[in-house]
């Protein structure tokens, strides 16, 4: 008897409880990366329920497509995509999720890179001898707090496609959020202002937008080609350059090969600075503001002359 009751419950759950309130009460937003989830949450407030596919500490380029991702996208009203190839895996997830609301071309889907001034778009023909290059340009624009007006505007439009009756509320929340970002951005800019023009080395080219926003110069990378382990020759040349140009900081993120970066920094009398490559990637970086507070503070510390 008990098993029949259990079976009946499973079937009812699978088909949808008849008396359940409509799911439209809250818009279910799934973002490919956590930073975009936080922005959707900032705009959507209590009208949205958010989830993310790549874990905060994960390099989004490396995501392994899992059925659990499909289960999340299966329930999504809106799918928020970073674009520029960093989350190209999302198509495999969408195909396995059986959710017509978020298939390519559907209204419940937004690629936030559209309209962004993309950096490092190759001007020459690229191929894989250059490593794991992104032919459409650098995809890590979510690390630029100065682009929040554009990104959140696209989010308001996308959310309003799903729930047009709430457009005004989304826009109001967006304006409130932008005011907070603007205030915080002033503070971050003040903290890094003394280091304007300072040269840094990055392990991987994921800091282009962040550094450009604060006029810090990315002069070289530890990996000579994206995704390819650096050759000894490249590292030796890098150390020489760092000594010659008195470059004092090597920026790494949690998924980079820290030992190689530390060896380079030690040889060049520089410091390795670990920054969060996204919100939640490191302890104390859980919110959008925490992320930039942390990164700005640690970068300023690393650039301060000893």
């Amino acid at each position: 008897m008990r098993w029949r009751l259990g079976l009946a419950l499973v079937i009812v759950a699978a088909l949808g409880w008849p008396g359940r309130p409509p799911a439209a009460d809250r818009i279910h937003v799934v973002a490919t990366i956590n930073d975009l989830r936080l922005l959707a949450e900032a705009v959507g407030g209590d009208l949205v329920e958010t989830d993310t596919l790549a874990r905060p500490a994960q390099n989004p380029d490396d995501l392994e497509v899992r059925p659990s991702h499909m289960a999340k996208v299966r329930r999504a009203d809106l799918l928020v995509i970073n674009g520029l190839d960093v989350d190209a895996w999302v198509e495999a997830i969408v195909v396995g999720a059986n959710n017509p609301k978020v298939v390519p071309g559907a209204p419940g889907r937004v690629d936030l890179s559209l309209g962004i001034p993309v950096l490092e778009v190759p001007t020459v023909r690229v191929d894989r001898s250059m490593g794991d290059v992104h032919p459409a340009g650098n995809p890590h624009y979510y690390l630029d707090p100065g682009l929040t007006p554009q990104v959140t505007a696209a989010l308001v439009d996308a959310l309003a496609r799903v729930a047009p009756q709430h457009r005004a509320t989304f826009e109001t929340r967006r304006q409130e959020f932008l005011e907070r970002v603007s205030l915080a951005l002033n503070g971050w800019a003040r903290t890094l202002a003394p280091f304007k023009g300072a040269p840094v080395i990055v392990y991987h080219k994921e800091w282009a937008y962040f550094l450009a926003r604060f006029d810090i110069r990315q002069v070289d990378t530890v990996e000579d080609r994206p995704g390819i382990p650096p050759s000894p020759g490249h590292l030796a040349q890098l150390v020489r350059r760092m000594r010659d140009e008195k470059i004092k900081a090597v920026i790494v993120s949690a998924w980079n090969d820290r030992r190689t970066a530390e060896r380079v920094a030690a040889d060049a009398d520089a410091k390795v600075v670990l920054l969060a490559h996204g919100a939640g990637a490191l302890k104390g970086t859980d919110s959008y503001f925490d992320l930039f507070d942390y990164n700005v503070r640690h970068l300023a510390e690393a650039l301060t002359p000893r």
């Binding site: 289960a71 198509e91 195909v95 059986n98 794991d132 459409a136 002033n186």
Partner: protein, 461 residues
Amino acid sequence: MRAIVAPGLIVVLLLSSAPAFAEDVEALRREVEQLRKQLQSVTERLLAIEARPAPSPAAPAGGTAPASPPMTAPPMATAPAATTAALPMAPAPSLGDYARPHQPFALAERRGPGQLLFDIGLSADLVATLTQRNVEKALGGSFPGEENRFFPRSIELGLFGQIDPYARGVVRIEVGEEAEDGDREFKIDVPEAHLTLLTLPWSTQIKMGRMLNRFGMLNQIHEDDLPQTDRPNVLTRFLGPEGLIENGAELTWVAPLPFYLEALVGIFNGDNETAFGRGSLRAPLATTRVRTFFEIDDANAVQIGVSAATGETTEKHRSTLVGADIKYKLVPEGWRHPLLTIAGEGLVSNRKVDVSGDLDGDGTRLRGGWYAYAEVQPWLRWAFGARYDWTQYPVNPGSEWAVEPYITFKPSEFLRFRLGYKHTERTHRVTGPDDRGSARIVDEILFQASFILGAHPVDAF
């Protein structure tokens, strides 16, 4: 009757999806109005951005702090200063670009005007085997007819993308060396040419055409993506060296549950001669699969699946296969790759055969087999593993077991080398054509080199 009912069901489902395609005039009008407002809003923002002063050029090299730091933040919503000036946007491909000889995928990756509307990818899988002379004569190796050779097992051109807002299409054309009756030749095959209807109601999808059936865990995996160089013995014995590739349709349903549960039913011709072979929708091959997945915690995940297929053989006898599979992965927090993968799959086959003087009774063959493997990947580029196989033969008496340790090296996501050793023992001798040799005990060294040209491969669990 069944042959009529099954395709009928598919047609009914297709027709019932019509409302999803139909556009209500009023809804369209609202949408146009909304788009107009959005366009106006975007135009206003664009004008506002253009009205801002140009960003300052990149600061000169140095490293010391400037004397008087500015006290205001850089303007929001403008391109960051340093790199936009140095890196102008890529121009759209010109007519000359198209006319010039180039690798096809290069155009597929271009963005902006002139881009191709679908993706192109190419993968190549090259294999070398070394084994005993008697095994070569008996054609008793893992790749019969290719013993002691370096050969292109599969060179595959894949074309895929959205057909329209409602459907996605995939076509894969494969060229590979095949050995038959002592002759080797390049054969062109189309293992996949199918479309998937993405916008059907009730969380369903229909995939139709020619496809690698979603039967078991490894059947739908392409040769270059297999966890070991060769397919497990039980799969090649019961489904053939290429696996189950069929023409027909699959309907999938993803349950609205907090965890992933996918159910699938399929109707196919039954062209696979190793397991079925009837090749007619009058006596179709019916398949089903249920797959679920659990994340135990952030690091541990397991996938479980059960599959079944039933059809008729060329002799018009019933043949039924039932399988179960399980896969576990451990990906420690912050790792870019799994540290440990353990997986296994078992198959049971029940079929009737025409035999003269059948010693087993009524010609029924209830046979089975299984495999399991474990792989450890302590570093991003290196993996070590071993597979164990045990299988009976589907029709003939006897069984075989094998063990295959291997090592994999991946210089990048797009290139992989694998070296393995496989030891196989059979209860019966395998005798080659004209009784030139036999193979009961087989020792093989297997080498594999695979590469991909084009877009990122998707890593799947």
